[in-house]
């Protein structure tokens, strides 16, 4: 089942959403979340949010005049959905 999840993500030709993946594989959404986290821990998937935060992106001026508190807290940032990428070494 776990391998099936990874295989399905690898074989996708486009961006995939977790809801569709859950329905396609007949896996409960909550269980699928756990499986995704498992593959993140194993290094086969990358949690993009965590990767971005770890890279320590900081606004170059420290302030654009709008009391910037760093990139992750920038008031102008539009909230984006969480994404997971296949790690480069895993792409078939």
């Amino acid at each position: 089942m776990l391998n099936q999840v990874l295989q399905e993500i690898r074989s996708t030709q486009s961006v995939l959403n977790l809801g569709d993946l859950s329905r396609k594989l007949g896996i409960e959404r909550s269980a699928l979340d756990g499986m995704i986290q498992f593959w993140v821990r194993k290094g086969h998937l990358i949690d993009d949010d965590a990767a971005e935060n770890q890279s320590g992106a900081v606004c170059p001026t420290g302030s654009c005049g709008a009391s910037c508190r760093g990139t992750s807290n920038c008031a102008f940032i539009t909230k984006m959905p969480k994404t997971y990428s296949i790690s480069p070494g895993d792409i078939e």
Binding site: M1, C59, C64, F76, T78, T83, I91
Partner: protein
């Protein structure tokens, strides 16, 4: 019955069956653990055996210091090697796989779902909103409504803020300076023509920003923005671009700087640089006041649609340029495979929407008080220095100033675009600092003098009363504006709104510099604003993220493309007799 099956059936309660080979090794490990009573006393032997097969580091560290722990660890290592030979993959994957299989089976056994349960409301909405055919049109309609709301509904408040800044606030400042004996001096000019004209010129657009941020907050909090990203990413992928490119681009609608940092989620360097080069073409919030000002002057009936068109032109430019670059300089066959977690739809709360709107609007206002005020003061100084004529410092015709003379040198380059006045070129030059400065510069360089009205002198409290009354009136007009989104105009009987002096001055200037093709020149100007460098901070971010070489490519490329696209709009428009 084999040993492992016997052990398994003898377990009390529930236990997950991990397969014959794994169960044999679990039993073998349990036997090794049972030889050390103190270890068995601390941990249930089956649980410990499974943890060791999974390679749990904490447990391994704990065992290392226990007497006999080394023996158990050695046995576990032997079991892991043996099982990995059999399964051909990490044993923790095998164990987790069985665990998830067991959970899934259990859920299927005990949870009965009707067809109604199987599809949640979010799923049903997603079937339409993220549909391959309908997704993009829905996104476009959604964005059109956002800009229609932003421009049409905010207009009464825009007039109100303009009235307050140009009326009571200016009068109070002049009154205070008079009381200090500074009336009629260069200090009054600095405050009125520099700070109030510059900063006030931008603050007038705060209601526009508030309505934009309100609409975006509703889209974000409802969960739609994530769907928009999903739909657009699918399109990008279909066009051969990196699927994940649109996420940073969508961030760019707010501000280009964090959008440039968002490109870090792209693993491949080529994709990262390419997306970094495309992100600035997304219209950030700072460009909106320029669009709104020009759309109100030259396209009063279709202001919302013009602003929407400019935002879409930015996306289209990024996509087309992306396809060209991806197939030339950034050619590569790197795949972009990723999954997106779409949050369930939610009814946005008033508190949440207010928080987002307030946070962004206040950030915009703080920016006005820092960067824009500093630029306005510097600009005023250069506009006060005479280089021609017989005027003295701060007492000159603005056309004789150092600022006007310097910008006159640049203006001829812009002649083929229809706006070769020094005023227009100066707005583009200061626009390098930040796009909000474009409007503040225009408010200063057009040296707008509001017509003197023979109004009676008012007291402070009368002014405050007038501010409150006009605010209530603006609120009433805003409510009446809402049907404008559906094309119903409740203002018809009241006639067209009078253009402000700034609007009139800009219109006259563009009509004059374009030989009577002011509408086309204004469109070309807005396209130039859309395409060229967003701001200084974005340049610094590009240098940090893409390196100095790509930063220069970006600056020069954006300028060249802005000139070219504005040229096509203006000259093409004249050729086709469009305006």
């Amino acid at each position: 019955m084999t040993t492992h099956e016997l052990a398994y059936t003898q377990l009390e309660g529930f236990a997950i069956y991990y397969g014959r080979d794994a169960e044999e090794e679990i039993v073998r490990l349990q036997e090794a653990i049972s030889r050390h009573a103190h270890i068995e006393k601390q941990f249930p032997s089956r649980w410990l055996a499974i943890k060791l097969l999974e390679g749990d580091r904490d447990i391994e560290m704990h065992l290392k210091v226990l007497q006999g722990g080394a023996d158990v660890l050695a046995a576990a290592e032997k079991s892991v090697v043996h099982l990995e030979k059999i399964y051909g993959e990490d044993i923790d994957v095998v164990i987790a796989d069985h665990r998830y299989g067991w959970i899934n089976g259990l859920v299927r056994e005990v949870v009965k779902r009707t067809s109604h349960d199987r599809l949640t409301t979010s799923d049903k909405i997603d079937r339409v909103v993220t549909n391959r055919l309908l997704g993009i049109p829905i996104f476009l309609v959604g964005m059109w409504v956002v800009f229609k709301l932003t421009t049409d509904v905010s207009a009464p408040y825009l007039d109100w803020v303009g009235g307050v800044i140009g009326g009571p606030i200016t009068n109070w400042v002049v009154g205070i300076l008079d009381a200090l004996g500074l009336g009629g001096t260069w200090v009054e000019s600095l405050f009125v023509d520099g700070i109030i004209a510059g900063v006030g010129g931008v603050l007038v657009f705060v209601p526009v920003m508030m309505f934009l941020y309100l609409a975006l907050a509703v889209l974000e909090d409802s969960g739609y923005m994530a769907r928009a990203a999903f739909v657009m990413d699918r399109l990008m992928h279909a066009l051969g671009l990196h699927g994940k490119s649109f996420l940073p681009m969508l961030v760019g609608f707010g501000c280009t700087v964090p959008a440039l940092y968002a490109t870090r989620t792209l693993e491949n360097e080529k994709d990262r640089i390419l997306t970094g080069l495309l992100v600035p073409f997304m219209s950030c919030g700072a460009r909106l006041p320029v669009y709104v000002l020009f759309a109100a002057i030259f396209f009063p009936e279709n202001a919302g649609s013009v602003v929407f068109g400019l935002y879409m032109l930015g996306i289209l430019t990024a996509i087309i340029l992306g396809i060209i670059l991806k197939n030339t300089i950034f050619k590569g066959k790197e795949q972009s495979i990723f999954v997106m977690e779409l949050p369930p739809y939610r009814l946005p709360t008033l508190r949440g929407i207010w928080f987002h709107m307030w946070e962004r609007t206040s950030a915009f206002v703080r920016k006005a008080w820092t960067i824009i005020m500093a630029t306005s003061v510097i600009l005023w100084v250069f506009m006060a220095i005479p280089v021609k004529g017989s005027g003295s410092f701060a007492e000159i015709d603005v056309n004789d100033s150092a600022f006007a003379t310097a910008n006159e040198a640049i203006a001829p380059v812009l002649a083929p675009l229809g706006f070769d006045s020094w005023e227009a070129s100066s707005a583009l030059v200061t626009g390098f600092v930040a796009k909000e400065v474009v409007v503040s510069t225009m408010a200063q360089v057009y040296a707008v003098e509001e017509p003197e009205e023979e109004a009676e002198a008012t007291t402070f409290f009368e002014d405050v009363g007038e501010i409150i009354t006009s605010f209530i009136s603006a609120t009433g007009d805003t409510i009446k504006s809402l049907p404008l989104i559906a094309g119903i105009n409740l203002f018809e009987e009241e006639g067209e709104a009078e253009p402000t002096s700034l609007m009139q001055a800009v219109q006259n200037s563009f009509e004059a510099s374009s030989g009577g093709h002011g509408t086309l020149a204004s469109l070309a100007f807005m396209v130039f604003i859309l395409i060229y460098t967003p701001c200084m901070v974005a340049i610094a971010a590009e240098r940090q993220e893409l390196g100095a070489k790509w930063m220069w490519v970006s600056i020069i490329g954006q300028l060249a493309l802005a000139w070219l696209m504005a040229f096509v709009v203006f000259q093409g428009g004249i050729l086709l007799d469009l305006g």
